[in-house]
């Protein structure tokens, strides 16, 4: 494993600037997730790091070495794609051993076997090693695809939405496993996703990306609690942060145009002082319930407290509790 540094990289496709002066250091042993919507430049950043694209400007360094002009094979990186493509005629063992048997590596067969078995155990597919790849479920196939990368010990693992084709339950299990494996191996990972839950639960640091630029990088807690602007604030949190006009509440800072209020920033009481709100709907999503309020025509959504026993049509009062404030440009300002 090694430190990877992306220095002021820009990449343009025809007229679209996919990556715009982006700098990012992934420290040795770190799990960095790039989070952003479709088209933000996440995958291009990953492909630039892999050597599948060449930057217009800037450079890429792996373990202190400038690899900007090196071919993907020379860079010592392992790529896991969203669409796992396994060799259907090979067994799970052969699929995982494939990269280790590449000409030029010449590893002894005993070493290959030990390595594949060790990784298979980590991924809970050790009983499937002799199965044909096509006899596996989707989740098992994606584990094999990840396993194929893990058997190598590259400088960095580059992962492009590797869990997005799995169903919700399996995705939840794999999140925990992948994080566990990364910690155990001390692996360096650059991971691309549009799923905030994956970024929050697995990453050591999250890089929030918008229109090819890195807007903020920090620990999940940092990004969630201290977003630099309204765009970042809206990327994390379920239900999404409420962005409300500043004049809705008294006592907001002079420059504030928007109040950013999450569930933990709102105190809801059956009456008393505060801004009146009406309960419009209570949405039972199972693991959590969303309380939809109307505050002077503005919709506000918070997690509902199961003990509160509110009903549709009830009037409540809202008070702010250390919320976030943003100016006219959406930039965060101090309270």
């Amino acid at each position: 494993m090694a430190e990877v540094e992306i220095r002021a990289v820009t990449k343009t496709f025809k007229t679209t600037r996919a990556v715009d002066d982006l700098s990012l250091t992934i420290r040795d042993g770190e799990f960095v997730a790039l989070l952003g919507p479709t088209g933000a430049g996440k995958t291009t950043t990953l492909r630039l790091t892999a050597g599948l694209e060449l930057p217009d400007h800037g450079s890429i360094h792996i373990g202190g070495r400038d690899v900007t002009r090196e071919a993907p094979a020379e860079r010592d990186v392992a790529f896991v794609f969203q669409q796992y493509s396994l060799y259907p005629h090979l067994t799970v063992f052969e699929n995982m051993a494939f990269a280790l048997r590449a000409p030029g590596r010449r590893l002894p067969e005993a070493v290959i076997r030990t390595k594949v078995e060790e990784v298979a155990r980590l991924l809970h597919i050790e009983t499937k090693l002799e199965n044909k790849a096509t006899q596996l479920s989707g989740g098992q196939m994606q584990r094999v695809a990840i396993g194929r990368a893990l058997v190598r010990s590259p400088s960095i693992y580059l992962m492009d939405e590797p869990l997005s084709s799995l169903d919700a339950k399996l995705r939840g299990e794999m999140r925990l496993e992948l994080k566990r494996i990364q910690t155990d191996l001390g692996a360096t990972i650059l991971y691309v996703t549009h799923d905030q839950t994956e970024a929050m639960t697995m990453a050591s640091r999250i890089g929030v990306i918008e229109a090819g630029r890195l807007i903020q990088i920090g620990t999940p807690r940092d990004i969630y609690e201290n977003p630099v602007n309204a765009y970042v604030a809206a990327r994390l949190g379920q239900p999404a942060i409420n962005l409300l006009p500043a004049d809705l509440f008294a006592g907001v800072p002079l420059m504030a145009r928007t109040i950013g209020a999450r569930t933990e920033h709102l105190t809801i009481a059956p009456g008393g002082a505060g801004v009146p709100a009406t309960v419009k709907r209570i949405e039972h999503l199972g693991d959590q319930s969303h309380l939809h309020l109307d505050v002077a025509g503005q919709p506000v959504v918070t997690l509902s407290d199961p003990e509160a026993r509110l009903g549709v049509g009830d009037t409540v009062t809202l008070n702010l509790n250390n919320p976030l404030f943003f100016d006219a440009d959406g930039t965060r300002i101090a309270a």
Binding site: H194, G237, Q238, D287
Partner: protein, 365 residues
């Protein structure tokens, strides 16, 4: 608009019994979700309501009328598919108006209805755009528009949001439900995504192996799952299952789990000694130094307001949802307690929920 009544519907493809005696009623204006894993029979059921498949047995009534053997085109139903095929050479207005043109409706009336549908879907500004440049969400809105303009008796939708990415899907869930509230059209919606079903449906029919396992409101499905399958399928992370062996007397308020007593909702039936399962939702697991179940923290997943803590115990890995402000270290020893009034008990072999003060009723059908 109309009521849809499905009675003892059966469908076999050769030796494969795809739908087994499915019965449910969608009241006029109601939104029903058919929810289940792939292969459970939900799409086949929907296709039978649409008239795209003929049932092997059973009846389908639309607004009281038996339409079981009627052709799809004679049923006054609009179908929205996952893969929306728009006509690439037509603009948005022409795409939405096309079904009306086929019915020979006058240009003036067509224009009025297209404008109205576009307003309901908030795509009025896109009417004269070509469909080829549209984003995924807008393309799906156009596909919905094509269904809405026909003003059918009911809407049948087969995973219409399946192809969208997370953020767009969440937005469309809100919109579809709001649209339903405005139009009040009877809707049957097929999905394997529990979040879509929980967020949109008035009633959910959970299907498994061709059978409707439970038919109830989202809240009841979540709080009082009728079977192990339903309990496991709904909820993210899913319900924790702790196996134990015991007999049960009517009225008891606690069960023995290893060395400890766990309080439960009072049992409403008696059972001879058998293999049972205690079901606990992650948000009903509490951390307590005096907790009866002990374990070691395996992993912590931070989610902002809350976090998911996985704890390895003698009963397997249990997941707890707790406020994100509680600090946990991997490897730490913790005690767990459960919120008694929310617990479910299941028979391990049949999967059926044992009747308690929480679970009155038991399995549907």
């Amino acid at each position: 608009m109309a009521q849809i009544r499905v009675e003892a519907l059966d469908k076999s493809f050769g030796n494969f019994h795809a739908v087994k005696s499915a019965s449910f009623t969608v009241e006029d204006g109601q939104f029903l979700c058919l929810l289940g894993p792939s292969g459970c029979g939900k799409t086949t059921t929907l296709r039978m309501i649409a008239g795209l498949e003929l049932p092997t047995a059973g009846t389908i009534r639309l607004g009281g009328e038996d339409v079981t053997m009627r052709r799809a085109s004679a049923r006054d139903i609009a179908f929205v598919f996952q893969l929306f095929a728009l006509y690439p050479h037509m603009n948005v207005r022409q795409n939405i108006g096309f079904p009306l043109k086929c019915e020979g409706i006058s240009a003036a009336e067509r224009d009025r209805r297209v404008t109205e549908a576009a307003r309901a879907l908030r795509i009025s500004h896109l009417l004269d755009r070509s469909v080829s440049g549209l984003a995924g969400g807008d393309r799906q809105r156009v596909a919905l528009g094509r269904a809405i303009v026909r003003q059918p008796k009911c809407f049948l939708m087969d995973e219409p949001l399946g192809a969208l990415d997370t953020e767009m899907r969440e937005e469309m869930i809100e919109e579809l439900r709001a649209l339903h509230d405005r139009l009040g059209a009877t809707t049957v919606y097929v999905t394997h995504d529990q979040l879509e079903a929980m967020a949109m449906a008035d009633v959910i029919a959970v299907m498994n192996n061709g059978c409707v396992e439970q038919l109830a409101s989202p809240r009841d499905i979540y709080d009082r799952p009728a079977s192990l399958f339903v309990a496991d399928f709904i909820g993210s992370p899913p319900m924790n299952f702790l196996p134990f062996r015991s007999s049960l007397a009517a009225g008891v308020r606690a069960v023995r789990l290893g060395d400890s007593e766990v309080a439960i909702p009072a049992a409403r039936e008696a059972l001879a000694e058998s293999d049972l399962v205690l079901g606990v939702r992650p948000e009903h697991v509490r951390f307590s130094d005096r907790g009866m179940v002990r374990g070691e923290v395996y992993g912590v997943e931070y989610l902002g307001t809350t976090q998911i803590v996985t704890v390895t115990t003698a009963y397997g890995a249990l997941k707890a949802r707790s406020p994100a402000s509680m600090p946990f270290r991997t490897g730490e020893n913790v005690g767990l307690d459960f919120r008694a009034d929310t617990l479910s008990i299941f028979d391990q072999h049949s999967g059926r929920a044992i009747r308690t003060t929480l679970h009155e009723g038991g399995l549907h059908g």
